[in-house]
Amino acid sequence: MTPKDYNTCVELYSDRLFRFILKNMKNEADARDVVQNAFEILWKKREGITPEKARSFLFTVGHNNMIDILRKVKRMDYVERIPEKSGPSGMDNFALKELLNNSINQLNDLHRSLVLLRDYEGYSYKEIAKITQLTESQVKVYIFRARKKLQEILVSVDRAL
């Protein structure tokens, strides 16, 4: 990978990686650190990485780093959560998306990251399995359970309204 390819990767994947990490970590500073760390490692190992594999590499490094940080944060019991909005004003399409984005925070870390990788990044199950170091069947099962969880959340909110 040339420096030009690396800069192209920054343009293409920095926002998406930051979005994925921020949704999982709920801390902007930590998410920025993870993104910077991932791109730093990509730069160091650019000689052995092709531009086609850069995206997968970034998300793998970012996911692993994020998991490490989340474990540390949980032990320290220090989590700065993203301020959640008060709630959906209506159940229109925009409101449903907003509710869905907020309800994802109620998923556990593994389910959240898997759903984000699948929905945000459009990774195949095989690629997600590679990133998260799980089997493809596990990925499918976890994502299915995560969606069921989200459905339950939305149904509960709808009932509350």
Partner: protein
């Protein structure tokens, strides 16, 4: 494929996305017919797809970007090594030239010793080479010395000058100790071969007149310089090797260099030379001093040469008769 309640989660997403194979899709439909509750779950999941929030962006993209750093070739360092190597080689060559040049030019000075040793080992000289009638008794030993003397004669054009140079050097070495001391002191100061004695213009015109050698008397030996007894021991240039043009070039060049480089000599040396040796006046003083300098480099050789040894070496018959 058997789909049941334990493994249906693995196929549920593929069923919703329509990526199942035909056989798996049929098996999944048969399973959902048996479990309508699960079918209800799946219908609601199709719409649960998260969409990314485009408002969330990484602001410091510039901090992530890297500039294309041009590879810096350590040209200076690479060049430095070669420069150092070249300088070292140059210094080495210069030192070698300084060391080797004087030795090659002054090499003839060491020959007398070799001649002396060989002369002692092989004192007998064949008389058959030259007829007795044509050569005087003093020159009977000259056939033995054909090889040492021949190089000078074969290479130099001015035979008269060479003869006198030879004579002058021999006379000075043997009979002029005062000049030798002075020249030895001067040699210590200037060890290089370029130190030369001045050209005595007055002495050179008398060169052909004062030479006692007559070339006409020895037509065959004329090509090989007939040298008196005293001169024979030191002058021979290549005693061990036979005559060859390549080997003779060294003495010729040495003499040529000596003749070119001339420096003024203190007048005392010339005076001493004139007083003690009339032959020295006739010959060029530059060459004579040069010979003395070379000999002084090898004091042991000079000590080893004596008249008795020379006579014994080249004229054993005369010595034994006495």
């Amino acid at each position: 494929m058997n789909i049941n309640t334990a493994n249906y989660e693995e196929y549920a997403l593929d069923y919703l996305e329509g990526s199942l194979s035909a056989s798996d899709n049929l098996a999944m439909k048969q399973f959902l017919k048996k479990h309508p509750a699960i079918l209800m779950e799946l219908e609601g999941l199709q719409s649960l797809v998260l969409e990314p929030d485009p408002s969330i962006v990484f602001k410091d993209k510039a901090s992530l970007k890297r500039k294309e750093s041009t590879k810096v070739i350590p040209f200076l360092g690479f060049q430095k090594k070669w420069l150092i190597l070249a300088a070292a080689m140059l210094i080495g060559v210069v030192c070698l030239m300084k060391v080797l040049l004087p030795t090659t030019i002054s090499q003839p000075a060491s020959y007398p010793n070799i001649v002396n040793e060989e002369a002692t080992e092989q004192p007998a000289t064949p008389k058959n080479e030259l007829p007795e009638n044509q050569t005087p008794p003093a020159h009977k030993a000259t056939p033995k010395l054909q090889t040492p003397i021949q190089p000078i004669v074969a290479t130099t054009k001015n035979q008269d000058l060479q003869k006198q140079v030879v004579l002058n050097t021999q006379k000075k070495q043997i009979s002029i100790p005062n000049t030798f001391k002075k020249q030895k002191e001067s040699l210590v100061k200037n060890t290089s071969i370029t130190y030369q004695t001045p050209v005595n213009n007055k002495a050179t015109p008398t060169l052909p007149k004062q030479t006692p050698i007559k070339q006409t008397a020895q037509p065959k030996v004329a090509q090989k310089i007939p040298v008196p007894k005293e001169a024979i021991a030191i002058v021979p240039q290549h005693p061990t090797k036979p005559t060859s043009t390549q080997e003779n070039t060294a003495p010729e060049t040495a003499i040529a260099i000596e003749e070119k480089k001339e420096s003024p000599l203190p007048p005392q040396i010339n005076e001493n030379a004139n007083n003690q040796e009339p032959i020295a006046m006739a010959s060029s003083p530059s060459t004579s001093k040069k010979r003395q300098i070379k000999v002084s480099l090898f004091p042991k050789i000079r000590k080893g040469i004596s008249k008795e040894k020379i006579k014994m070496a080249f004229f054993p018959e005369a010595v034994t008769a006495k």
